[in-house]
């Protein structure tokens, strides 16, 4: 009954008046910003993270998790109604969701997406509660060598399972790793790559970096696309699917949940891979695959369920191993560190109320989303009618205020702008910003573990291959890397990501 007691503790933490309120605020703000076209969950988290600094650790993480689900859901709304996915994970929703909206069934698409997300989120939360303690207990036996190899595996996994060029993603990771080292070296107290700036002595803040490479560069990219997209915003009505439609999506939602739950745990898997796989599978096993792309309700239900389930289970590696698998999780990790929590398997034993409170709040947050979104959908739709030329200066202003709200330091504003420029150039060159952020956050941790592993082995680098768990991670990473270089896999990968 350990699990039961833990869940009771979690719910009693999450259900305090102030935590419930901040969860609610988080979900609402997350949806509000997430709905805005071109602003994905990572950018939303970066924008809103500064608002949570003043809160106690548990409350701030509960609020951030709420922001994350809210942003995820808001992104789906935009994908369905205006054919503009906020982040890659909702790109697949546009295929059938937007077609449904054009046929006047946008309301049902939104309803199914909300109900499916709740369904997937619920099952995934149970999975997190069952599986996370197990993984944490395994991770307790990890030494520095295991951690280093695990990070290699995680980073390679993130590269292989993500879309786009592998070589470019590896380049972005390496670039991020070095950027993460800027500042004072913890071991030797030496300054590295600070170029004489006092403000860089403590390194760069993950929020500043993420604000630049996600929010600023996304806005810059959006101005690139000169032609206005077709906006189809009829009145959204009839949110509730018919009984017939519910029966139609029951199986796709179940499959979506399973796919999402499993893929969410994998490094680099997360919501993106989950939604694409769920969609591809539904299309493959459908009686009439021709309906897909023309407003098939399964094509909305399955990926939406899967990406929410995956969003939930992507917390597993973060909470148990301290390893982020996506841009959003990297920001959560940054928030944990800012709150003075060192991420890793000890979080569960050291601060159990935080750990279980967060898990319980995941479920509560998902429930709030369901209750919040269906009645408030009219408001989100109104927000979508605000022209972009008014929206983006306002978003920029909020980002800037977020940057100075840290410690009123204008250096962070300039640094954010510099990362915005970097992000813009890199995206233009076909390099995704997410691997950069993962490298940035893992850089100091990798160096630390490499150092400690080599000290313990007296400088013998074979330690990574002679310790069995470490060897498994290295082999897995190598296997993944070799497999994607094979031409046959490359072709299939292309096919999978083209939807």
């Amino acid at each position: 009954m350990d699990l039961f007691n833990n869940l009771v503790m979690g719910f009693s933490t999450a259900a305090t008046a102030s935590n419930l309120m901040y969860c609610f605020i988080g979900v609402t703000l997350g949806t509000l910003i997430g709905v805005l076209p071109g602003i994905g969950p990572s950018a939303t988290l970066a924008m809103l993270l500064p608002m949570t600094f003043g809160l106690p650790a548990t409350t701030s993480l509960i609020m951030l998790a709420g922001i994350f689900y809210g942003a995820q859901y808001g992104g789906s709304t935009t994908a369905i109604l205006v054919n503009l996915p906020g982040e890659a994970s909702s790109a697949v929703t546009t295929l059938d969701g937007y077609q449904m909206a054009r046929q006047g069934r946008g309301g049902v698409a939104l309803g199914v997406s909300a109900i499916g997300s709740f369904f997937g989120g619920t099952i995934a939360t149970i999975f997190v509660a069952l599986f996370a303690p197990f993984l944490a207990s395994v991770a307790l036996s990890f030494g520095p060598a295991e951690y280093f190899s695990l990070m290699i595996f995680g980073l390679i996994g993130a590269v292989v399972l993500a879309s786009g060029s592998i070589l470019k993603a590896i380049g972005m990771i390496l670039f991020g790793l070095v950027t993460g080292l800027v500042g004072t070296d913890v071991q030797t107290n030496a300054l590295r790559f600070t170029f004489g700036f006092d403000d860089l002595f403590d390194g760069m803040d993950v929020v500043v970096v993420a604000m630049g490479i996600f929010a600023f560069s996304e806005i810059a990219m959006n101005l690139d696309i000169s032609e206005q997209r077709e906006r189809f915003l009829s009145k959204v009505k009839g949110l509730y699917p018919t009984w017939q439609e519910i029966k139609q999506v029951l199986a796709p939602c179940t499959r979506g949940t399973i796919i999402g739950t499993i893929l969410g745990v994998l490094p680099g898997g997360g919501p993106l891979l989950a939604s694409f796989s769920a969609y591809t599978i539904e299309k493959k096993i459908a009686m009439e695959p021709g309906r897909f792309g023309h407003g098939a309700i399964e094509g909305v239900a399955a990926p939406e369920t899967a990406n929410n389930a995956a969003a939930q289970t992507s917390f597993i590696p973060l909470l148990t191993l301290g390893i982020p698998t996506s841009g959003a999780m990297a920001l959560m990790l940054g928030a944990m560190i800012l709150q003075g929590i060192s991420p890793g398997p000890l979080v569960m034993t050291n601060v159990p109320d935080l750990f279980w409170g967060m898990i319980a709040s995941m479920w509560i947050g998902n429930g709030m989303l369901l209750i919040l979104n269906l009645p408030l959908i009219g408001m989100w739709v109104k927000l979508l009618t605000v022209p972009y030329r008014l929206l983006f200066p306002a978003i920029l202003a909020f980002c800037c205020i977020g940057l100075i709200s840290f410690d009123n330091n204008t250096f962070d504003v300039f640094l954010g702008a510099a990362f915005g420029l970097l992000g813009y150039i890199m995206v233009k060159l076909g390099c995704e910003p997410t691997p950069f952020l993962l490298g940035f956050i893992l850089g100091p941790m990798m160096e630390e573990n490499l150092r400690r592993a080599l000290v313990m082995s007296r400088g013998d680098a074979t330690v990574f291959f002679t310790r069995p768990i470490s060897a498994v991670f290295i082999l897995l990473a190598a296997g993944l890397l070799i497999s994607v270089i094979l031409p046959s896999v490359q072709a299939r990968r292309k096919e999978a990501f083209s939807g």
């Binding site: 590295r192 800037c400 160096e447 490499l450 400088g459």
Partner: protein, 145 residues
């Protein structure tokens, strides 16, 4: 001839970055594997970055792919606006900095004077209500106040 300008350029950028790290980090002592000093890990990563950059730029020369992307000057406006915000925050206060930010960035997409003005006023009131009064952030709306 270069078959993919995009890959070639990305490769060159990684290569340049790797070389830059190696040069600026040249004076950092490396140490030994047994006792890694501050230069060990950065130079390891920098060499790998050079390697990836070199492979990518060679790939750009020999295998076909996307051409060199077109960079839009207009896209720089939001970033210029952010820098202006940073420069003006102290001398002009938050209200002034936000107004300039909105005016500069508005040029990026069909600028209308009255819209930008109305948005600035709206934002200043909003910031005052939510961030200053509501959240109690120590922000100074006006210079010297």
């Amino acid at each position: 001839m270069i078959k993919s300008g995009q890959d070639f350029l990305a490769g060159l950028l990684f290569l340049a970055m790797g070389v830059f790290i190696l040069i600026t980090g040249w004076d950092l002592p490396v140490g030994t594997a047994r006792r890694m000093l501050q230069g060990y890990f950065p130079s390891l990563v920098a060499w790998l970055l050079c390697l990836v950059g070199a492979i990518l730029s060679v790939k750009g020369v020999i295998t076909p792919g996307a051409p060199v992307p077109r960079f839009a000057i207009r896209s720089m406006l939001p970033l210029i606006a952010v820098v202006a915000f940073g420069l003006l925050l102290r001398p002009a206060g938050l209200a002034g900095a936000v107004t300039v930010l909105i005016f500069i960035s508005s040029f990026g997409l069909s600028f209308r004077f009255l819209d930008a003005l109305a948005l600035s006023i709206f934002m200043i009131i909003f910031i005052w209500l939510v961030f200053v009064k509501g959240l109690g952030l120590p922000l100074h709306l006006w210079p010297g106040l």
